[in-house]
Amino acid sequence: MAEQMPTLVRIERRESDFHLTYDNEEEFSVTYHDLRHACPCANCSPLRNEDETSLKLREQVESFKLHKPSVNPVGHYALNFIWQNGCSNGIFRFERIWALANRRDPDNGKPYVHGAW
């Protein structure tokens, strides 16, 4: 990977977004809606392949009442967010969170094809 990603050192759960602080002192915010729409699980990912289903996914995540999720580290490489409703399956690698923080497509424009089902 060409880009050297800084280490995420702090996550603050605010009313409607995360405030992220990296070890190079850069700070970002990622809304809960953006994060949930970018869920990498096998149920949510294929929905982002088509504009129409992606929009429906967006509408669905925006319909959920905003609340602070639980945040659980996964191994040493990812985080899992537990929500009171909707999907909590996604394991978000730090690279994915970094892409969202930088307003980049975390799927790198690639459709989801490697589903288990």
Binding site: R10, I11, E12, C41, G75, H76, Y77, I91, R96, H114
Partner: protein, 336 residues
């Protein structure tokens, strides 16, 4: 068998009192009761086993069982209590590699007692239940599911530090069933070889792990390179025709010893796949014909040559796995 205590009660007919269930109802109730008992047992087993590690590969023939047994033996060498659950129902190989070929399981009061292989590693495998090793197991999904749940819920593992679960290749029923039956799985180790086909399938395995919500502990690259050692004149250059006719050069030392590593299935693919997916790379294992001989003879290379290059490589991989599942916080990440 003692008469079943199961009766049914019809609320519409209060005067009638309890009614004996039909044989069909009774059978269903007994099955549900057995299933409930098994589920409770699986929860209890989950508590007695500190760490549960799944070993998968997208493609067959990459050395998954070799890695599973190697991890188990390397952990046992560290003094841990270790078990291996060979979930590869249609092609169980672990018993042969653990010197337990032909072993039969001991069943007492409805509980299955695992066999003990090298270094005290406990082993459960479908191979123990086959009358004839040449007989194929042809089971559809639901029967496999039942067998797997039985292997988890009805086995008397005792207290274990690590349970290594060896799966058949691919992303099918087995890992799904295990991840849903056994609580608190630490994660998956994905085994690959460096060639493109294996790497493509490994990438599926990584995505599969995410779908199952099981962390990927990392990728192991097996058959990473074959090292040839030789002796020639001191301080002289050596040329060997490698794969594809490529010339590989080396120079002998002052005693005339030289070594050349042939990257038979290419090199570094496991590491680049791990990097692409942002999961840890646990290490590379050399192409070692000793694994084949050891597997056939039932004496794993780690047991026969505990100081050898392969044992050292396994030890490094085990340390990398342990770093991933350590109880310490993932990093200095502050979550508020």
């Amino acid at each position: 068998m003692a008469e079943s205590p199961i009766t049914t009660h019809d609320p519409k007919n209060e005067e009638q009192g309890p009614v004996a269930p039909s044989p069909q109802q009774k059978k269903e109730m007994e099955q549900n009761y057995a299933q409930m008992k098994r589920k409770m047992s699986m929860q209890e087993i989950g508590m007695k086993i500190k760490h549960k590690i799944m070993v998968l590969s997208g493609k067959g023939g990459v050395g998954k069982s070799t890695v599973s047994t190697g991890l188990a033996l390397s952990l046992a060498q560290q003094g841990h209590k270790v078990g291996i659950l060979d979930i590869d129902i249609t092609g169980p190989n672990v018993p042969k590699m653990m010197g337990l070929d032909g072993h039969k399981l001991h069943v007492e009061q409805g509980r299955i007692h695992p066999a003990k292989g090298h270094l005290g590693v406990k082993v459960i495998s479908m191979a123990f239940l086959l009358e004839d090793p040449d007989t194929p197991v042809v089971w559809r999904g639901p029967i496999k599911l039942g067998a797997i749940q039985q292997f988890i819920g009805d086995v008397e593992w005792g207290n274990l530090d690590y349970l290594i679960i060896d799966f058949p290749p691919g992303t099918s029923d087995e890992p799904l069933t295990v991840s849903q039956s056994l609580p608190n799985i630490d994660g998956m180790v994905i085994v690959t070889t460096p060639q493109s086909v294996a790497l493509l399938d490994s990438r599926k395995s990584i995505t599969f792990a995410e779908s199952l919500k099981v962390p990927v502990l990392g990728v192991v690259e097996n058959m990473s390179g074959y090292t040839i050692n030789g002796v020639t004149a001191a301080n002289s250059s050596v040329e060997i025709a490698g794969p594809g006719g490529k010339t590989i050069k080396s120079t002998s030392d002052e005693n005339g010893n030289f070594s050349v590593t042939l990257d038979i299935f290419k090199k570094g693919g496991g590491k680049s796949t791990a990097e692409d997916f942002g999961v840890p790379f646990l290490g590379a294992l050399p192409f070692d014909p000793g694994f084949v001989r050891g597997g056939d003879d039932g004496v794993h290379k780690i047991v026969s040559d505990p100081e050898g290059a392969s044992s050292i490589a396994f030890s490094a991989i085990v340390k990398a796995v342990q770093a991933q599942i350590s109880d310490k916080p993932a990093s200095s990440l502050e979550i508020i």
